[in-house]
């Protein structure tokens, strides 16, 4: 009779354990092993989500536990969706998301394409380029406030040097029109290397023989780029967009350090606004409804996007 893996495993199992689990079905044993994970998942993810949904229909305030809780139906949702200030923060977030992803994809892909060409010092340049993403967002936000300082800031000086504009005549984080761009610039500076690395992985995964075949077919470099490089890197690029989109939708630390959401509420992104509602104003019920709206938005958009990504991969 052949000795199966199962038999060998059974023999290797210490006797007390074997005795203890003897009599249990395979399904029951599977449950025993999976149960701790499921319990953790329920405790850490599912229960808080259900609890948050429950709180979103109340006027609960976590700092006023003695005050009592009243169910107020959909009032929180109604207030949020009709609040002009919330829509302004949504707009600020959309502006931040769109432009950061646009610039990061554009610059990240270009850098990856350049780095992918073999040249002397290639590895050194790669290391230098990825340095910003190794820093803490809070530190980055903090030191860019100095770079943007109108009187002593390097950024203003450089802009002034090349444009002839007086460096102290404009304020990147103090001006309503420039502040939204100031956070876009910093996030792009910090996270473009991430997009570059993913694109680089995509570029290096393209087999050389495809280009060689194209060369034989006398396809121009331009045509090779659009018909080979771009389609084959696209799934990687879309993945990078997904990561950056989710990350930037919940952007908090960098922007808080950089502008604090100001001037006024110009750069107050939804996550900053939500934090203020939940942990500064302590409107827990209201903030729960706000969080659920954001969750549904991100989840919905991400699901559509992932479907699109899968379709691109299947091509």
């Amino acid at each position: 009779m052949t000795d199966t893996i199962a038999d060998r495993a059974a023999r290797a199992t210490p006797v007390p354990v074997a005795r203890r689990i003897r009599g249990l079905s395979d399904r029951a044993i599977a449950w025993v092993f999976v149960a701790p994970t499921i319990f953790l998942l329920l405790a850490v993810n599912i229960f808080p989500l259900i609890w948050t949904i429950n709180l979103s229909f109340t006027d609960f305030k976590a700092n006023r536990a003695t005050r009592g809780v009243e169910y107020i139906g959909l009032r929180n949702y109604e207030r949020i969706l009709t609040d002009e200030d919330i829509w302004l923060t949504m707009q600020a977030t959309a502006h931040f998301l769109f432009w950061t992803i646009f610039f990061q994809v554009l610059i990240g892909f270009t850098l990856a394409w350049l780095i992918n060409r073999k040249f002397r010092g290639n590895d050194l340049w790669t290391t230098i380029i990825v340095l910003p993403m190794m820093l803490s967002p809070a530190v980055v936000g903090n030191f860019w406030t100095f770079l943007y300082q109108p009187q002593i800031g390097l950024f203003n000086y450089v802009v002034g040097f090349f444009s002839g504009v007086d460096p102290s005549s404009f304020e990147m984080i103090g001006s309503v029109s420039l502040a939204p761009w100031s956070i876009v610039i910093v996030d792009t500076w910090m996270w473009t290397p991430f997009v570059m690395l993913i694109c680089l992985a995509g570029l290096r995964s393209i087999p050389d023989y495809i280009y060689e075949a194209a060369e034989i077919d006398r396809a121009s470099k331009w045509r090779q780029f659009w018909t080979i490089t771009v389609p084959m890197v696209l799934p990687f690029l879309m993945l990078a967009v997904l990561f950056r989109g989710i990350e930037n939708f919940k952007m908090f630390d960098l922007v808080v350090q950089l502008t604090g959401g100001g001037p006024g509420s110009t750069t107050e992104l939804t996550s900053i606004n939500l934090k203020r509602e939940a942990f500064e104003k302590w409107r827990t019920g209201y903030a729960s409804a706000y969080a659920i709206i954001l969750f549904v938005t991100v989840f919905g958009l991400a699901s559509i996007y992932v479907k699109a990504l899968n379709k691109v991969k299947e091509r």
Partner: protein
Amino acid sequence: MTISRLLAATAVTTIALSGAAAAENLTLCWAAWDPANALVELSKDFEAQSGHTMNFEFVPWPNFADRMLNELNSGGKLCDLLIGDSQWIGGGAENGHYVKLNDFFAKEGISMDDFAPATVYAYSTWPKGEPNYYALPAMGDANAWYYRKDWFARDDIKAAFKEKTGRDLGEPKTQKELLEIAQFFQGREIDGKTVYGAAIFTERGSEGITMGVTGALYPWGFKYENTPGKYDMEGAVNSPEAVEALEFYKEFYKTATPPGYTNSYMGESLDAFKSGQVAMGMNWFAFFPGLYADPVVGGDKIGFFVNPPQNQAGSTLGGQGISVVSYSEKRDAALEYVKWFAQPEVQQKWWTLGGYSCHVAVLNDPGFKDSAPFAGDFLEAMGGVQDFWQEPAYAELLLAMQKRMHDYVVADQGTAKEALDALIEDWTEVFEDEGKL
């Protein structure tokens, strides 16, 4: 013999252990700033006298409210004693975070009459003015101004000012004079360096711009309600005087502050002044001892003045009372600290070290006014202080004002009237949620 020795040894050990248990390790929480260092020094006397040891948890001002209110709301046991902001008293009392001290004061013979009435009202009582005490006035404070006395004394600058304004350069007597002086210094060359008018509060995240704006609102006669306790804000919060004061503050920000001064509070004001960037600076009295001692801009180079009046005298109240946190497991030792701190001789030393005592024995001392160059101004300011809402929902009220003021003053959105109208809407919503309207 052996048994009796054993019993004796057990008795000695028991006594020793019970003595050790009585010596507690107390934690006092406060903001990280100059007076906190003075308190560490002062508390060494308490440690020597009581046998307790003191630990300190000092949090930088921008995060102080966040950190401490989270601590209180979660029933945390980190702080046995808390020197919390005056506006927290309502929440501290109603949410059960602070121990009510009436019985303790009565038992220990601590009288609130021994402390300046304005400070007792602001730092200790809830509901306001009622004899329910949740804190002992610990640190009197108000918003005031410092200026470069050496620049004000220079003949060339005095002449230029006289030529420009037709009056002598000196400490401003009104808010409008204050602005005029600041505008005079704005962009001026002094010793080959461009300087600016004044450092004011514009910070968005915590309480900065509200504390700055109220420095203009109060002298114009701003009131939170038409009738105290009725929450009837229409016509009070957005009165013509309030609108004028807010427009004034915006003009101040636009025409007399350093470039890039969009998110500045106490630290930035100190930096701007110490670096010789501004002629004047708005800040809390708490920083004045340290500034006076500064080797570069202190001593003869610095002068101080109370927030100038306009339609009336008015200064923004700062300062805090010391409370015993109800979640502390060392309540007796914490109360012992409060009892020790309330003593007149301790209060006198507190002032000497750089803390602002609220004890009348210190403030009414004939030598007090001359004990420091800013002592007289402090007394004057404390006579005209006004505080923000001290309601349990103070955080919501404060954040609404932060937003509306920053939107108008710094982000240039809408008019002053619109900003104040919107503020009334925000505050009305909060009071409706609270069931007070």
